[in-house]
Amino acid sequence: MSVGNQNTVQLSRRRFLQVLAGTAGALVVGIRVAGAADVPVPPALLGDTLYGLGAYVRIDADGNVIIGARDPDTGTGTATSLPRIIADELDADWTRVSVVPLGLGVDDDNGKPHWTYGHQTSGLGDSIPAAWADLREAGALARWLLLQAAARHLGVPADRLRCEEGNVIAPDGRRFGYGSLAEAAATIAPPTSPVAVKTPDRYTLIGQPAGDVDARTIVTGQALYALDHYAGDALVAVLSHCPWPDGSVDSLDTTDTMAVKGVVKVVQLKPEAGIPLGQTVRAPAVAVVAENTWAALQGRAKLKLQWKAGSQSESSAWFEQQASDLVNDKNAVPAARVRNDGDVDTASKKAARRVEATYVQPWLAHATAEPMNCLVRLDKDSATLVVPTQAPQQAWKVVQRLAGLTPTQIQIRVPRVGGGYGRRLDHDYVAEAVMLAKEVEKPVKLMWTRDEDLGQDYYRSACVHKFSATLDGKRQIVTWNQRMASASALAQRGVADNRLWTSEVDAHQLPAGLVPNLRSDWYSLPSAMLRGPARGMPHLSNAFAVESFIDEIAHSLKEDPLVTRLRLIGEPRMIPLGDGRTLDTGRLINVLKLVAERIGWKNWLRTVNGFGIACWHIDGAYVAHAVETSLQGDRLNIERAVCAVDVGRVINPTGLEGQVAGATLDALSTALNLSISYKDSQVQQHNWKEYPLASMAQLPDTTEVIVVPGDRDPTGASFLGMPTAAPALANAVFRVSAVRVRRLPLMKELLRML
């Protein structure tokens, strides 16, 4: 390993640690990512001005420790879990640690942005895996420096010292607080190669439960979300968007609006030509800019505004019909053959039994709690923004395109975010705020109202799955044919046509690897409805369809659906799935058996309540749900929901339980109640009554989460708890009501069929 300069340690070709003496005797260790990624030049030769410090850990002279959290926390718990990864390597006293959310880290690399902190995205399920690979060395190096400082002070070799809860402990038992060693530690030359990270037996924080670091500020109402930020003289803007992205203003009379006290200006916005979805204004819009939110809202209500329709007039009923037609049309040509194992056509001719079913799932919205908003202050040579984003680096690109400026002239602050679910990977609202700030030449605080948030989303496409499976005389599934039709979430986003299927279906999903002849085709539907990334995509819709269908196969065999699943999965073994993916059937069996045992599956046949079960795997993580339901008249009660997850090593069991329980309830709520419908391309849901997230009464009283201990590198868990909840529920509903729900939302369908 080469050494950049005396204060840096190279971790890999692109990453290195830097040690700095902070003010007032502080020790600071950060990770930097080399900007010129493909230039094999030692970082020292590139010069320090090219880089900023990714300030990950700072030990103050008073012993307090400050750790930066680089990924936005949208409720995913990374503000707690990521700093604990560093704090564990440091052997810090967690009670002395404060976590500071890092805004966007950007340096100027000859006019191009260089991302100081490397990974800085939330909600893709990769925050913890990236941190595991990335952040531990910073804590380890800081601890090593503190040990060396203590060794010099005491005149004993460092290997005779040990660290514990913010202290270095001498052989004679004397304790030296990290704070007292920080100043000296900052002057010590780092080692020439990375310090080894801990072995798992020495973890003190990793694997131990910890509550959310922001809990106290949240329960006291002091936590500031982006929408809670004000820049003294910022004007408030609210919008009315055109239902048709390619529509236009037909007539606009602002007389009454301008008469509202406090209204300053009415501004029209339009999508920029040639810019991908999510990076510019979503649809033509009229913005009312006012001195406060109330004036802006009144002004918007008084707009006399008529929209001219766009070129498309589409309804959700038409879309679903098209999708059904496609999966049923034997001559239709798939846009992608996602998987093709064995020979389905030949093998299915010898079938002893054939099972078929079609599942329809509706359009969905993101429905974040905190609506889209953005505070922006533009000056001649700077832009300062507060943005509730999952991807600050993407937000930066939008600001830079619209405002010009050099990389470091744009500052983006990302406070805690009120829910993301993929919506905030897009930055149309940032584009709008910057355009408005340019227009009114004052700081602007943009807020989307709830009706805009639900009615002008980048939606999740409805989809139709058609399955056909054949079984042999020994009741083994011999062929599996999946045909799925939907509108890709990646269209109009600069993604190649031959990759559009990747947002809709996973090539490695169940039962791939378990059935000798398996085909998965995806049929592409055009739609004028705008789509975008969504939580759990593409697993949510596929797990519902696949795991419901496996239950239907079990039913046709008159077999316990747990037994059918265990027979399908077979012996514990490693099955290569292609693309470097592997299915560990032992881990899948384990999560299935855990939820079955917990819910009391042996009573499956006897109980008057209905039990349902489902399992899934996502990128090396395994999950299963078991749900118990009862039916009183037409009232469905979810009595219990049990979930088992295997994510490898668990960083924070409390955080993981929260994520899994939360994802379970989100998935149940979505399956029970939610759908977006539209007519003439106009969405019909505008408030919580029309898009009714489940009430407390509809949801189970408890969510029982079983965490499988593991020592593999951790995987992400932010949506792992979602995919199997809905099929387990539908399978339980079948047991209790004899109604097989093949169309979501479930309550509507159940009441129709009962």
Binding site: G221, Q222, N292, G419, T449, N687, T702
Partner: protein, 176 residues
């Protein structure tokens, strides 16, 4: 003597004391402190709290106030801050989430229970849950599952089962 007499008879300089004009406005009490709103009296409480007072713990729900993110107590009763104008609140006493903890920073037992049960997702809906739970426990100190089922709040992160645990912790603790 004459000198002192002159001093007493001399009127004070006219520019130092100006009688205060009568100010129109609405008086209301928020978290135990007196406020007078002199702006648009038809402004909903939500925007008065947020835009004027910068008490941002009460969150925006939607134009129809559904969802429960905007809940406060008015004279001890649960109310949506979206649906009440400042004018309607004249003389009333309002409690927001900022008013739950004691002056010395000690958390209200419900706040502590939410922390202890980690009953928080993204946290945006948490103030609303706290206000609704407080109202529930005021009415039903030993609230059980059936009472908790009546809470009006919505949460996409899925904090409901943890919120339920937190409320039960307080309901049981109060009578242990």
């Amino acid at each position: 003597m004459a000198h002192a007499q002159d001093q007493i008879l001399t009127p004070p300089p006219s520019n130092t004391i100006v009688p205060e004009k009568v100010r129109d406005g609405v008086d209301l009490e928020i978290n135990g402190r007196a406020y007078r709103h002199t702006g648009d009296a038809q402004m909903p409480l939500l925007w008065y709290l947020r835009d004027v007072l910068r008490l941002t713990g009460t969150k925006y729900s939607g134009e129809h106030g559904q969802g429960g993110y905007d809940l406060v107590l008015v004279d001890g009763k649960l109310a949506s801050a979206t649906h009440m104008t400042v004018a309607e609140l004249a003389g009333k006493s309002i409690t927001t989430v900022e008013g739950l903890a004691a002056a010395d920073g000690k958390l209200h037992p419900l706040q502590q229970a939410f922390v202890d049960e980690d009953a928080i997702g993204c946290g945006y809906c948490t103030p609303g849950w706290l206000m609704a739970s407080l109202d529930l426990l005021n009415r039903h100190p030993q609230a059980g599952d059936n009472e908790i089922d009546q809470l009006p709040n919505l949460c996409r992160c899925g904090c409901q089962t943890r919120v339920r645990r937190a409320i039960k912790r307080v309901a049981n603790g109060a009578h242990a």
